[in-house]
């Protein structure tokens, strides 16, 4: 049986394990947005949306949409008890000012120093758009990136230096991919976990930066709601 990389859902599941009970958390576009499905029932997480919501609940059910209550992706959502509404500057007081316990973003590239590139593909058509990513990346107390370990053409997305336009420098603390969990440390990238069935050497081979291996590297534990 060929070894399989994690699905996007499984990356989200593993990332959700990083959220401590009671945390204030912002989830970005893409894989991070799937994470709320994997928060265990014994935890309460306060999800923040940069358009002015703290305490977002699940997406609104069909027929119950309120288009004045949307998340940063324009999707109708709900709120949980204890939610609060505020203006967009206050929402970014929370991001930039170091009030979010955790933020999780998708990315095109992450460097070994924790630089992140996630807003613009070089040479892409159109204006591009930044949105809230720069503010969130700079300000979150702990920034996690969820992404595939490699691009569609196989190019490593964990790299020595980002070649894509940067979103923010030296801010990523942890990278969770379909192959590994990596921590950005002053010494470099530490391989904390590998995907089930993969070896540290195999992960290193798919990575564009040197990985530090400290002792034996455990496999990610999966098997949540969809496991």
């Amino acid at each position: 049986m060929p070894k399989e990389r994690l699905t996007r859902e499984q990356i989200a599941e593993r990332a959700a394990q990083e959220l401590p009970d009671g945390a204030y958390v912002n989830l970005g576009f893409g894989i991070p947005n799937l994470m709320s499905n994997y928060v265990l029932a014994d935890k309460t997480i306060y999800f923040h949306s940069e358009n002015g919501i703290l305490g977002m609940g699940p997406r609104a059910k069909a027929g119950e949409e309120d288009y004045d209550l949307v998340d940063a992706m324009k999707m109708p959502v709900t709120v949980i008890p204890g939610a609060a509404f505020f203006n967009q500057a206050e929402a970014h007081t929370m991001t930039r000012g170091g009030h979010l316990d955790v933020a999780v973003l998708g990315a095109f590239q992450v460097s070994e120093k924790g630089d992140i590139a996630n807003w613009k593909v070089p040479g892409a058509k159109g204006s591009g758009g930044i949105g809230g990513a720069m503010d969130i990346a700079v300000g979150a107390l702990r920034l996690i990136v969820c992404m595939e370990h490699n691009a569609k053409d196989g190019a490593p997305k964990v790299v020595k230096e980002c070649s894509y336009p940067l979103t923010a420098i030296e801010c990523v603390k942890t990278v969770i991919t379909d192959l590994a969990v990596l921590d950005v440390t002053p010494q470099g990238l530490v391989l904390r976990e590998v995907a089930p069935g993969f070896t540290p050497a195999e992960v290193q081979e798919c990575t564009g930066a040197k990985l530090l291996v400290r002792g034996s590297v455990p496999e990610m534990k999966l098997g949540g709601p969809l496991g």
Binding site: Y67, M73, F85, S127, P165
Partner: protein, 221 residues
């Protein structure tokens, strides 16, 4: 006392001149002053500078103004992949665009509202948006200098207003609206309902009347 209430959206924007700069509230489909935008589209005002997080979705929101080629310059955070009329104008080189981080857009508006000409932020350091901007280290952190951003007009969408212009918003339709209401020379509000003075609890007013110049009651988004 000065009456801030206008009878129609067309009257309320009648004096917005060609070349005006306008702040447009709204984010992610919520809180856009669509009725005021359509009034400006009907009026055909040209050479506008638009400050808005997004640049429309098809003909919706700001879309119609790009379709009509009424906008010459844009300050935005996330024009958006569905802003096809904006993207066409942009690709054709018809539009000058300043792209910035969303929180920086918020703070530049607030700086204007609060009379703060400029501020240092860590957001954008080491990225494209830092190009040409003054950089320095403050308290051990690399920062860049950003300046206040205001406009001649703000187009704001509120939920309820009282007759002197105190405003409340609804849920996530608040977003940029209170910031923009405070950052323009003339603030124009479309609102679902206008109530008597005293009907809004002083504790829950989000935009105090001092920031509001004109209001019009509208039906529908």
């Amino acid at each position: 006392m000065k009456n801030k209430i206008y009878a129609s959206v067309d009257e309320i924007v009648a004096d917005v001149p060609d070349g005006a700069s306008i702040l447009f509230g709204g984010f992610g489909g919520a809180g856009f002053p669509n009725n005021l935008i359509r009034a400006i589209a009907r009026k055909g005002t040209r050479n506008l500078t638009a400050i808005s997080n997004n640049c429309g979705s098809g003909e919706n929101e700001l879309g119609i103004l790009f379709k009509n080629k009424q906008i010459r310059k844009v300050h935005a955070s996330f024009p958006g992949p569905t802003a096809n009329y904006f993207q066409e104008c942009y690709a054709a080189g018809e539009i000058e665009l300043e792209l910035m981080a969303q929180g920086v857009l918020c703070e530049r508006l607030r700086a204007q509202a609060a009379g703060l000409p400029a501020f240092f932020t860590t957001v954008g350091v080491g990225t494209e948006v830092a190009r040409g901007k003054e950089e320095r280290v403050i308290g051990g952190k690399r920062c860049i200098l950003e300046t206040a951003l205001g406009a001649d007009f703000a187009f704001v969408k509120a939920w309820k207003a009282d007759r002197i212009g105190n405003l409340v918003y609804r849920k996530a339709a608040r977003n940029f609206n209170p910031l923009m209401a405070a950052a323009a020379k003339t603030t124009i509000v479309e609102v679902d309902e206008i109530v008597e003075v005293g009907a809004l609890d002083p504790e829950v007013i989000i935009t105090p009347s001092i920031f509001v110049d004109r209001m019009v009651r509208v039906k529908g988004r």
